[in-house]
Amino acid sequence: MYIPVNDMLKHFKQDAPAMANITHKSDQWSPYHDNSGTVLAVGIPGAVIVAGDTRLSNGYNILSRDATKLSQLTDKCVLATAGQYADFIALRKFLQQRLQLYEFQNEVQASTETVAHLLSRELYSRRFFPYYTFNLLAGLDENNHGVVYGYDAIGSYDQMTYGVQGSGQELVVAVLDNQLKGYNKINKTIPQTREEILDIILDCFSCAAERDIHTGDNVEILIITAAGTERIVKPLRKD
């Protein structure tokens, strides 16, 4: 005989207030899945470097070793997303269409700041049923300096020089704080060149792949400059 869970819970609701708030979560289907992975972006004068691993996972399963987390929205900016892949695809589709419309109407591509604001509004429009996405918008500003905007799931955003999102966030961001800002260093040697920063990024992904089960397979790196976009793919641990 099937007893609806709510009937059972009614008995609990009066006696133990602490249990009254338990809902039948185990029976309820959830639209949210964390497909994980790690993305990061670093802005330097003249360029912005965006990187993301290519592993798509669901719990302990690997669904794909070759799924990109990066999406170039305009010539100057790239969206990098960790979280739910389905929501990333939906968000990317919305942004691509809306930015195409912007380009038709204004005869010029949207600036990175405009895209950042658009993304924030779109995320907040779903305030009560959020996109489960943790985004980084990386691009070149009006002076062709690299800027990174970091978001939470409902659209709060801030400009930063570098950002990390995803399952490897805690592991990687502390390394970048130390290497790119010189936090907790007495002799602060901040890397200035693109090559040094690229080395640090590759090291970060290798470290994240070692210690985070959801990060690995390959790391895909996009380097955006005023001259164009360069793409590099490097292998990571596949276990």
Binding site: N21, W29, S120, Y124, R127, Y132, G150, D152
Partner: protein, 275 residues
């Protein structure tokens, strides 16, 4: 989960909520807990509606004095116990004569204060005069009352200048709107109040007021785990607002204050006066 209560829509007399409706209604899915950037301490899980469990963990303060209004804020934002940023801008520049401070949900504050900015500008264009601080804060209060119990989390101060002078209001997500001379919002507010109440006088000079604001925030960041980063200070006067300090690291402030107390360390941490 948003609990749909029919009585709030005035339908109580026509609608009897039956038990079977609880099973048949499509419950809105609740998002995983730690996905919002909050200006909070670690959120407490009491089960049930976790969206409204936020304590506004941060430290922001504002006080009225003879030269206008001083606002001082910290810059820490957390997602659960992970610090998502130490450089958040918690003072939102609504327009040249209004400022808003953020506490609680960062996205909520950013969005609704930007919405308020839009409204203020539209009013100014339509009516040829600027919206008063009282009216702007009331507009925001009206919005928040409409979203009451829906899970928004905001504890903000609206401070600005208009034809009647400089005014400071506190607004929060329950729909509260209070006018006052001294406010501090957030988990670090108790520490800030201690310092503020000790030294506040209406006839402070601007420099004394700035120092008071910085000290109060510093002490709050020192003792409150959810506050930290840098101190930002704004001053509102009859001509609008000015950003007095854009970001003084509280760690550097610690060494400066220690030096002022006569304490000496091994290194040369306090290299220069920060303010």
């Amino acid at each position: 989960m948003i609990d749909f209560d029919p009585s709030t829509f005035g339908l109580a007399h026509t609608y009897q909520k039956e038990d079977k409706d609880e099973i048949n209604t499509l419950a809105l899915p609740s998002a995983p807990q730690v996905i919002y950037r909050t200006l909070n301490g670690p959120t407490q899980v009491n089960g049930g509606n976790k969206l409204t469990n936020f304590k506004h963990g941060t430290t922001t303060l504002g006080f009225v004095f003879k030269e206008g209004i001083l606002l001082a804020v910290d810059s820490r934002a957390s997602m659960g116990s992970f610090l998502s940023s130490e450089q958040v801008r918690k003072v939102i520049e609504i327009n040249e004569y209004l400022l808003g401070t953020m506490a609680g949900g960062a996205a909520d504050c950013q969005y609704w204060l930007a919405y308020l900015a839009n409204h203020c500008r539209t009013y100014e264009l339509k009516n040829g005069s600027k919206l008063s601080v009282a009216a702007a804060s009331k507009f925001l209060q009206g919005i928040l009352i409409g979203y009451r119990n829906s899970g928004l989390s905001m504890g903000c101060m609206i401070a600005g200048t208009d034809t009647t002078g400089q005014h400071l209001y506190y607004i929060d997500n329950d729909g509260m709107r209070l006018k006052g001379d001294i406010f501090s919002v957030g988990s670090g507010s108790t520490y800030a109040y201690g310092v503020l109440d000790n030294h506040y006088r209406y006839d402070l000079s601007l420099n004394e007021a700035v120092e008071l604001g910085i000290r109060a925030i510093y002490h709050a960041t020192h003792r409150d785990t959810a506050s930290g980063g840098v101190v930002r200070v704004y001053h509102i006067h009859k001509d609008g607002w000015t950003k007095v300090h854009d970001g003084i690291d509280v760690v550097d402030l610690h060494y400066q204050f220690a030096q002022q107390k006569g304490l000496v360390g091994d290194g040369d941490e306090a290299k220069q006066r920060l303010f």
